[in-house]
Symmetry: C2
Amino acid sequence: MKKITLVFLLIVVQTFAQTEDEKQIRQIYDAALENGEAYNWLNYLSNRIGGRLSGSVQAQQAVDYTKRQMDSLGLDRVWLQPVMVPKWVRGTPEFAYMETNPGVTTNLPICALGGSVPTYGRGVKANVIEVHSIDELKTLGKEKISGKIVFFNRPMDPAKVNTFEAYSGAVDQRGRGAAEAGKYEALGVIVRSMNLRQDDYPHAGGMNYGDIPEAEKVPAAAISTNGADLLSATLKLNPNTQFFFKLNCKQLEDVESYNVIGEIKGSTNPDEIIVVGGHLDSWDLGDGSHDDGAGCVQSMEVLRILKKTGYKPKRTIRAVLFMNEENGLRGGRKYAEIAKDANENHVFALESDSGGFTPRGFSFDASDEKIARVQNWSKLFEPYYIHMFVKGFSGADISPLKNDKIVLAGLRPDSQRYFDHHHAENDTFEHVNRRELELGAGAMTSLVYLFDKYGIE
Amino acid sequence: MKKITLVFLLIVVQTFAQTEDEKQIRQIYDAALENGEAYNWLNYLSNRIGGRLSGSVQAQQAVDYTKRQMDSLGLDRVWLQPVMVPKWVRGTPEFAYMETNPGVTTNLPICALGGSVPTYGRGVKANVIEVHSIDELKTLGKEKISGKIVFFNRPMDPAKVNTFEAYSGAVDQRGRGAAEAGKYEALGVIVRSMNLRQDDYPHAGGMNYGDIPEAEKVPAAAISTNGADLLSATLKLNPNTQFFFKLNCKQLEDVESYNVIGEIKGSTNPDEIIVVGGHLDSWDLGDGSHDDGAGCVQSMEVLRILKKTGYKPKRTIRAVLFMNEENGLRGGRKYAEIAKDANENHVFALESDSGGFTPRGFSFDASDEKIARVQNWSKLFEPYYIHMFVKGFSGADISPLKNDKIVLAGLRPDSQRYFDHHHAENDTFEHVNRRELELGAGAMTSLVYLFDKYGIE
């Protein structure tokens, strides 16, 4: 009889707890959807400030603006964390054309890849060799490549339903293409934009020369998907087509910039730190609304909603707007370095850096056991159409925090439209839907709330 | 020992079947994403033809175009099914303004609601009474309403995560507002657009006078959400603000139109019919890309993909492009009537009429037992991020097919952006993402494939 009573009580307690959580999460979503601030903040970041490449005036304006906004939220502490960042500037003009016959030219939309050297002098003009992989360079060898412009034209695979997989499968061309082509004495590199759509936007993004001596670095640019198809078709008709491009980009000295941090102090476990973040820098062509203005304003919104709903966290909760994710990851590294030096105990970090689209769930970088525990909460998210609780990559900025103990997580929004805008001129505010952005903030706040309340041990 | 062997065999068979299905569904998605036709068809429907209100030239062009396209797919039969449809025309001009003081006017964006009578003579000008529900009319009574324009201004609830719920909670104002306000001798009705966004687009949509005598019908228009807020704020400052609107719409005689039907004959169970469909008509303000050009081209794509992948259906599979969903449902009713008269055995019907956005799953209108059987397939959809297999409304056009036996289903795309465009000038092709549309076609084809292969009994 006693045993039966005990079972009964346990069920009552669990049902009650469930109801409390359901209620809190509903309040969180109401705060996000009815009176959200994320969209207004993003409007300012995108339309009043614009693209925020590390070291730029706009990056500094974004630091000042987001600090001011966090100052107004009544947090326990808001501060700037200094970090030296690389300053690469695009310069103007940059342009390209193909020349099918002497004097017969067609302009093609290109942009320098971040980190590229310029085309010194009057630009580079040469014959083109089209390849579809870095491996193919080896097969062709120096004989076929030397003195030419290498045109990497392997498209993202449209059959991949998760577009991030399609991106991973193609982005080596952008990241390492120039370094590899340089080994075979190519004069320059043109890479098909990482874009699943056919359009005229060249997509920027980082590239890396590795440890190549300065003199051996070849300039690298992205070409729009339509431009790539036109160039490829033209080369088939006339393999002697010449390609010309001019880049005026430059790597300047490192400059000081900042991570922007706001914090609500934990009431009972203040030494256990939960981080929610995005990166404040962006590429320079668009205004960085999806990448990653969205993640920044969502992270700020997490703190605003927790305050607004009157929730008093047990643990310390920080929104961190990281600087320099795009071309250095200096902000993420600096944050982790300082946390380590101060012996801070980070228990959970959640990043939003996959666009402000309808959230589908979360990916977790942690032990299977810990992920299984988090998955216990998934039922609470079903009314909000959050279905994915999967093992996977979390986010670049929080990755330096990784250790055996911390749970790293990434918001996983619907990925279909992300690469239409990624790093391009059309990553702009009007392509962010207010509700989709707000639903992301609601999902993030709910997960932070659960993690704060229950921990993971 | 014998028993153990049996169990072992059963597992092997099931695993093999699973693998076959996985392979077929992968092929279906490849066909949708790599060489899909849906987007091209929609481009033509939207940009070459445009809005397709029942009885319009464009509706007839859409009938001709889609029949021609289905003719080219190598189906077993393509035909037009005649149906008489209502012909309501908007007429021009239609416009509105508010007058805060004599001669001080501000234009406001409105559009006639479908089925409305015109504002006879020079238009309607009167004082405005703002209400938030049909119930409120009763409280106010004839004394407060007579001689005025009733302004229904209850917004869709932004806290509803599923925007269709927010729509259901507000659309009675549009559907029955004029009929109810007429009872209290209102002179006209203005309804806040069914839109969760703040913008300047008035959203059309059907309304119904019920059995009110012609003379008592009052004209009804939608006003944009920004316009509604401006009017409401103005009325608070100056309750004597007058509102003027002019509508030139007209209900003409019914005209003949068509459902467009394409069919692949079943190999072993040809008498069991599976329908996949959308509606070919649309409102007239935009080009009807999401509502419901998307559903039509996805339905055609189901047949194309089945042919393309070499799948030979056991059952007969029909794509039906229904006419007149928006203001009559005549096509859906006619199709069901003819099916009944011919003693056709419809076993499954799937409609796509919620926009061409990323599919999240399906809703099913069937017995719990049947839904449970369908849910057994849900694992197969997980690699494609299809998570929802829920009980719920399927689709208007297929609803007349309902009986105890048939399974009705609706594609459930992400709903966040649907009402930004629904029935408005901005329901246009550029707001459809190719991949999102194609993923819907992939999901629909996969479900049709499974239903055809396994049935539900």
